[in-house]
Symmetry: C2
Subunit: 190 residues, 2 copies
């Protein structure tokens, strides 16, 4: 039996995305976005949604680029700080001690301390409502050398990405693998 | 030190979304989407990306509606089956034993067994590349009465949503809460 909770933005899970940009003066900034996700395989694209009032908004429009760092358990306080302050008021890198790294591929910075980063070129700008969705083509993904597994692939258990619960406004982690995709469903095919 | 892995659709975490639609004949169908996320707060909207070849594509275009069920640990095999078969070939509800429920709000069905469902009206259709992004306005969210906590909010620990790891193609769960959002970052403000 299901009960209505109204027209709300409740999805499980949400990511915690550290969106990196340069402002007009070239100051690096980070913002936190939970409204986002992969939106195309070819070209590989990610969508992140921002309100126009966000300091990062003009930065993305002007530089036509952004990065997306994956927030992780070890840097939870820093990731949260990024989400509760504005680059208009503070230098988030200076306060958090995070290290800005200039992308060599797109006109945007990322924080060295987040284990995975997606470097993106702005491809589409979609006005939806109070949020604008920026679709970025993923030019490259980079991971810290210590978050790969022996098979050479990025290892989610080493990355320890944060999950954002918008219902209770909490951060969660990710458990060990509990099933193989494209595999466990085959039982039902018989 | 970061190592490049190329232009890939690697994000952590991804959701596992059970997209419900009716086809022309009125047959209910489900597909699995990992490419999606909330994209606007007002109006509340969710984006899901599909390839044109998907059976669900025409269904969404014609009915201008879809539902999004949250795949959960208890129904992992069913959710995976939904992702490896096509509604062109099989009746996924019949094979899995999932129960189709007609939404009273939008022209689409959902599976009763997934604990949370978002009922969506198609708002925008964005052609990106091999994927088309459907942006749906969330008309209502419904949850099973047993996935609410005492405060009346949806409880992620009772929902037990699946997390999809696109790197190793695995399903994971979500751990207990490890930090309060908009709170733990305040330490750094001092």
């Amino acid at each position: 039996m299901k009960k209505s909770v109204g027209a709300k933005t409740l999805l499980f899970p949400n990511p915690v995305l550290m969106v990196g940009t340069y402002d007009q003066a070239g100051k690096p900034n980070l913002m936190s976005a939970a409204w986002g996700g992969i939106c195309c395989s070819e070209p590989p694209c990610i969508a992140v949604s921002l309100r126009k009032a966000r300091y990062s908004y003009d930065c993305i429009v002007e530089r036509k680029a952004f990065t997306v760092g994956i927030a992780c358990e070890d840097k939870m306080a820093e990731a949260d700080y990024v989400g509760i302050t504005s680059g208009r008021d503070v230098d988030k890198f200076a306060v958090t001690g995070l290290t800005p790294v200039k992308s060599e591929l797109v006109d945007a910075p990322y924080a060295a301390e987040f284990p995975v980063v997606l470097e993106c070129r702005l491809l589409h700008t979609i006005e939806i409502g109070i949020h604008t969705q920026f679709i970025g083509e993923i030019i490259d993904v980079k991971g810290d050398t210590d978050v790969f597994s022996d098979d050479g692939l990025l290892d989610i258990m080493k990355i320890k990405p944060l999950v954002y619960d918008a219902s209770h406004r909490g951060y969660h982690g990710v458990t060990s693998c509990i099933g193989r995709a494209y595999t466990i469903g085959k039982e039902l095919q018989k």
